[in-house]
């Protein structure tokens, strides 16, 4: 009928459709793989259902059962998209978008739109009950039995080898309260050997930004991009990693903002860019300084801004002009001069602008330099500290920002109080209501207490390294993976060796994770799996990348036999002997109430943790004003918040009467002072245009008052709006307050607490309150540093990756010297690089191997690959390979290939190789291979299904790229170099 009813133009559209489709290549990543794996799906395969059925109804009873709507936040990335979960009879039946959310406007990506799967019990791949590896098989056990055996073993090992023989890997997927409690938990155990995903994610960012201007977090927000004129994505594939952030980016672009993407791959983000630049993986410093070279050459830098607010730019300028000439830049990066100049011109002519990055900048051996080069570029353009400009750091996991701020870090206590400073311990012992002397005795010694622990990226070296070479008494003998996957750390082939040597491994996770499979592959016993609940089965707060804090309501009870993480912490603490200290029970006072959790069992109250511990102790980063009441009111009244500024236009919470006027959504930290003074939060860091009580900020006076005769504080005239001091000033403490004559503005109570204290450890918050009252920022008003004199590379340097494809460049830009002890471990740099050059590794492995993300999966991937709706979209591990590279090796699209790297299998010294499908695409250059890192469950061609507990293996399994990635760590933070190594590809 369609064909017969033909008006003149009618047939033509039909023709065009069939004409364009053969021309355009319709093979895209998802369809080409999907055709092969229709029957892979386990469980709810349609062929098992009767003809007219399409799915099982969850709550079959349609008449009875009241509906309740619980507001929560998606747990898959740091954008923080709100979700309205509809629950009926305790079953999660529906999921609705939250259009009112100022951050996400109701949008979701594939993962967020499918979070309801976490509440589905039929055919679930979750870890359902505690298990133990016995005789090579995973056997079910009871919680009590598990606790008994685990604690007995832990105490036994502790007696033999001390508390530092434990490494506790915490989680960036814990909410703030759980993360903070875990940080406390491991300290009560007596060790600093703890870490979480931030190490392998943005540790270099936090260090680099913190050392430049005081705080190591996103300076603006995703929303603030709507106020930008230019956005440069250097090391970020936001379309796949932070899809909903693209809503803001694309809206900005449609309103005239210029989008530039610099990436070795032509990604989905690059497809939406105005300008795409392909550079070599790892050459970011050269690129950034190449851009800076043109900016300085044409005098496009913001001279007044540099004079007023930046230290050391002249030194940087000298080096950039001399060293990073267009020829050098083109040689190092592969980018021709015209493109670098075009980028520089665009950025200079379109201010304010953001530079945006994620792992592309952070996962390199010189990432500390790359990140700082980005800072320097933004400082030169005068973009930092204003709406629409700065450094937008896209954090990864949903609460990696929060976990970094208050959670289990090896070198800091909650709020970045360094373990090396005794004052941090007295501060936190006070907040936690724990006896400091008792705490000191828990540690092996006071020296160990002050020494930052090992990092998660190197835990295998903690196990395998020679005992004389490590900076602690014993090697690591026991591992707890508490919400962290193993396949996100590099050198997976060596990880298997480490697992062979461990005395004990405990995995506490909603899914068994690849840890279980890897361990069972090489061991017959020695491991325990404890089912933890997901974030939908508990309440708590979560910090998004823009530093906003949102509150999650509990959607459902923990499923199967899982228990919330904080219940497990408390119960284990009971077995290990520090339960009282864990809840702050001392001298008749108890810091945290115990509330009834699943099955009537006790667990610490999340609200009390937020209020008494986080709000009570994190004065440095301003986590003190976000009381549970304030952020819960925000969650109930999202519609009053403006999207461009995230500020509430007005409004009063119907439930509590709280007045929302002036608050920024989620009270982005720093939200100084206690909740009473109603600080609105700081949406844009370092922004002096506003009064501090209005969200204004400044560069921190963290580095001293002067350096080599040059003033490090802000110049005259540079201060927050309404500030009583109109020039730079140092950090506030009781001395300064007295000198200024403001001491008597404190109440008597505040004076008692503030005497002898600084703005960072005055538990009354009085110093902060009075300073801000006068328009001053409590942490001082200083200059940002372009030169970080306390680091090996004071000015960022380009250094070739350890496994570089070009020995001539290695000669020109060698890496660092080896370090005898870095985070308690000897760390190799130059020796490895030289060895690789000598052995001509680049000839045997001529292609650059880089790894990255896919939108369907997240992190180690076991959780998302167990969700059938997501798993169906990406059924095979694959690599992206350029058509020329493929043709040279006789590889066709969709065929299996072996990707081998210089990484070695310790057992027989062979090179590690991965079996993946080849996706031939022009998206990668002829010199690069890309493999997504979310897969696990295959080991160099072998399916590890038999090693998983029954019914708890993910639906989709594939090679973990990190099995094959090689040695390489950042000089400052031991971030792993997973973005740049070498490989060779051959047909399978």
């Amino acid at each position: 009928m369609l064909l017969t009813r033909k008006a003149t133009g009618q047939a033509a559209p039909q023709q065009r459709l069939s004409r364009t489709i053969p021309i355009a290549k319709t093979i895209d990543r998802r369809t080409f793989l999907k055709r092969s794996g229709v029957t892979v799906g386990a469980g709810a395969v349609a062929s098992q259902l009767p003809f007219n059925m399409i799915g099982e109804a969850e709550a079959k009873n349609e008449e009875t059962g009241k509906f309740e709507v619980r507001r929560t936040v998606c747990t898959h990335c740091s954008v923080g998209c709100a979700v309205d979960a509809v629950v009926q009879n305790g079953v999660w039946v529906r999921q609705e978008p939250v259009f009112d959310s100022p951050l996400s406007l109701g949008a979701h990506c594939a993962k967020g739109a499918s979070v309801r799967e976490h509440g589905i019990t039929h055919d679930s791949h979750r870890l359902k009950y505690p298990m133990k590896l016995e005789g090579g098989k995973w056997k079910r056990m009871s919680w009590d039995q598990a606790y008994d055996e685990i604690s007995k073993k832990m105490l036994e090992i502790r007696k033999q080898s001390g508390p530092d023989s434990l490494f506790l890997v915490g989680s960036s997927k814990h909410n703030n309260e759980q993360a903070e409690l875990l940080c406390k938990w491991v300290r009560l155990w007596g060790s600093n050997n703890t870490d979480h995903q931030a190490r392998i994610c943005h540790s270099t960012t936090v260090a680099g930004l913190g050392q430049t201007w005081g705080y190591g977090a996103m300076t603006g927000s995703y929303n603030d991009e709507q106020n930008s004129k230019s956005l440069m994505f250097l090391g970020s594939n936001a379309a796949e990693a932070h899809p909903v952030s693209m809503l803001h980016t694309l809206h900005a672009r449609e309103n005239g903002c210029k989008v530039i993407v610099v990436d070795p791959r032509f990604t989905r983000t690059a497809a939406k860019a105005d300008m795409y630049v392909r550079h070599r993986s790892g050459s970011d410093v050269a690129f950034l300084f190449g851009v800076l070279h043109h900016i300085f050459k044409n005098g496009w830098e913001d001279k007044k801004y540099l004079h007023d607010r930046v230290y050391g730019m002249d030194e940087v300028k000298k080096e950039v002009m001399a060293k990073w000439t267009p020829a050098n830049v083109a040689e190092a990066t592969g980018v021709p001069e015209e493109q670098v100049f075009a980028v520089a011109k665009t950025l200079a002519e379109n201010r304010p602008g953001f530079i945006i990055w994620a792992m592309g900048q952070t996962q390199h051996t010189n990432a500390n330099g790359i990140v700082r080069a980005s800072n320097i570029l933004m400082l030169a353009l005068g973009n930092v500290g204003r709406s629409g400009g700065g450094c937008n750091v896209y954090r990864g996991h949903d609460n990696v920002q929060g976990a970094t701020d208050v959670g289990p870090n090896p070198d800091t206590l909650p709020g970045y109080y360094p373990v090396a400073v005794p004052g941090s311990w007295t501060h936190w012992a006070k907040v936690w209501n724990v006896d400091i002397e008792w705490l000191k005795k828990q540690y092996a010694s006071e020296a160990m207490m002050a020494k930052p622990g090992m990092t998660v990226s190197r835990w295998i070296d903690g196990v395998l390294e020679k005992n004389e070479a490590i900076d602690q008494d014993s090697n690591l003998r026991m591992m707890i993976f508490w919400g962290h996957a193993p396949n996100s750390q590099s050198r997976g082939s060596e990880m298997l060796e480490a697992m062979k040597k461990l005395d004990l491994m405990v995995v506490i996770d909603p899914y068994p994770s690849a840890s279980a499979a890897m361990f069972a592959k090489v061991r017959k016993d020695g491991a325990y799996l404890l089912p933890a609940a997901t974030q939908f089965e508990t309440e708590g707060s979560v910090t998004a990348s823009n530093r906003s804090i949102q509150w999650r309501e509990r959607v459902i009870e923990p499923l199967f036999e899982s228990r919330t993480d904080h219940m497990i912490m408390y119960q284990l603490a009971q077995k290990l002997g520090f339960a009282d200290q864990f809840i702050g029970k001392k001298d008749g006072k108890q810091l945290l109430r115990l509330v009834k959790g699943k099955g009537g069992m006790d667990e610490p109250s999340m609200e009390d943790t937020l209020r008494n511990e986080i709000n009570g102790g994190c004065w440095t980063i301003g986590y003190t004003g976000q009381s549970p009441e304030r952020i819960q009111a925000h969650m109930r009244n999202m519609h009053v918040f403006d999207v461009k500024t995230t500020r509430a236009r007005g409004g009063k919470d119907a439930k509590t009467g709280y007045d929302l006027t002036g608050d920024y959504y989620g009270l982005p930290w720093p939200c100084y002072g206690n909740a009473k003074i109603k600080h609105p939060g700081t949406p844009i860091l370092y922004d002096t245009h506003k009064h501090p009580m209005d969200g204004g900020h400044a560069f921190r006076a963290l580095f001293g008052v002067e350096k080599d005769g040059v003033n490090l504080l802000a110049e005259d005239g540079v201060a927050n709006k309404g500030s009583d001091i109109t020039t730079g000033y140092p950090q506030f403490d009781h001395v300064l307050l007295k000198k200024l004559g403001w001491w008597d503005e404190l109440s008597d109570e505040e004076k008692a607490a503030a005497e002898g204290k600084t703005w960072a450890n005055d538990l009354s918050g009085g110093i902060q309150r009075v300073a801000m009252k006068h328009g001053c920022t409590p942490f001082g008003n200083a200059k940002a540093r372009a030169v970080v004199w306390n680091w090996p590379d004071a000015i960022p340097q380009h250094r070739e990756p350890l496994f570089s494809p070009n020995p001539a460049l290695v000669e020109k830009y060698p890496t660092h010297d080896d370090v005898k002890v870095l985070w308690r471990l000897p760390t190799l740099f130059k020796s490895l690089q030289q060895q690789a050059v000598k052995e001509e590794v680049h000839k045997k492995f001529p292609l650059i191997l880089t790894s990255g993300r896919l939108v369907e999966y997240e992190g180690g991937g076991e959780e998302t690959r167990s969700n059938p709706w997501l798993a169906e979209l990406q059924q095979d591990g694959f690599c992206e390979i350029n058509p020329k590279t493929a043709a040279d090796r006789g590889i066709r699209n969709g065929e299996y290939v072996w990707v081998s790297t210089p990484g070695k299998n310790p057992v027989d010294g062979s090179n590690v190789r991965l079996k993946v499908k080849a996706k031939v695409t022009e998206g990668v250059g002829p010199d690069t291979i890309f493999i997504p890192f979310h897969f696990s469950g295959w080991w160099q061609g072998e399916d590890m299904l038999p090693y998983y507990p029954e019914g708890a293996a993910p639906i989709v399994r594939g090679e973990a790229v990190n099995t094959a990635t090689t040695y390489g760590y950042d000089r400052i933070t031991l971030m792993q170099e997973t973005k740049t190594t070498l490989c060779q590809v051959a047909k399978a």
Partner: protein, 215 residues
């Protein structure tokens, strides 16, 4: 009078697959049945890559409806094309006829065991009592009768996929075109009136652009 339509703005679609899983979630669609899919053309080709989300387009003159031997299709007053699974014989003729590949079959096999056809319902359920368990089991949720719009369009990460009344979609899209200064490059001016090349401009705006950059 509302006329329900979908429009996927290819300038915004980033192939996040949010629409795909939103649909799976809302209707508990089993593995192997894909009511909605995202297609990316020219993957990896600088300047030419485009993504677009495709499901049933609920055609005014639906070919599936025209060819069905048992006439199990009908169109609602809002223009939504639905069908009765109890009548469907699984012949697959609608699958041949549909230019978008919307009809899905839950069975897979070499010898024609197809099962009942399943497809996007615009979240309008099917010929069973609205919001009943029977309707959910056969056709999925009926969001329209709850006063909501298709889950895929409501959850799209970049508001690329628009779903609802055609007039409102047109208004929304028009405003976007105005702000951008140009339409969607996939089906824009060049495809409709020009040589059929994606990205072709009207003659007076022709300009040479260096590869890898776009104005």
């Amino acid at each position: 009078m509302a006329r329900m339509k979908f429009l996927c703005d290819a300038e915004r679609c980033i192939e996040c697959n949010g629409c795909v899983t939103a649909c799976k979630n809302e209707h508990e669609v089993p593995w192997g049945v894909n009511r909605r899919r995202v297609v990316t053309i020219n993957d990896g080709v600088v300047g030419a890559e485009k993504s677009i989300s495709v499901a049933c387009m609920h055609c005014s003159d639906a070919p599936c409806m025209a060819v069905c031997p048992v006439d199990c299709f009908y169109r609602t007053d809002d223009g939504v094309v639905l069908h009765d699974k109890d009548l469907c014989i699984g012949c697959g003729y609608c699958f041949y006829a549909c230019p978008f590949g919307a009809p899905q079959f839950p069975q897979a096999g070499a010898f024609g065991l197809r099962g009942k056809m399943d497809k996007c319902t615009f979240c309008a359920g099917g010929p069973e009592k609205d919001q009943s368990a029977a309707e959910f089991q056969k056709y999925g949720r009926n969001r329209l009768s709850e006063g909501k719009l298709p889950a895929c369009a409501e959850m799209c990460s970049t508001k690329a996929l628009l779903g609802g009344d055609g007039d409102v979609i047109a208004d929304i899209y028009r405003e976007r075109v105005l702000r951008r200064g140009r339409g969607s490059e996939v089906w824009g001016w060049g495809t409709a009136y020009g040589p059929g090349r994606p990205g072709a401009q009207p003659p007076q705006q022709q300009q040479q652009q260096p590869s890898g950059t776009r104005s």
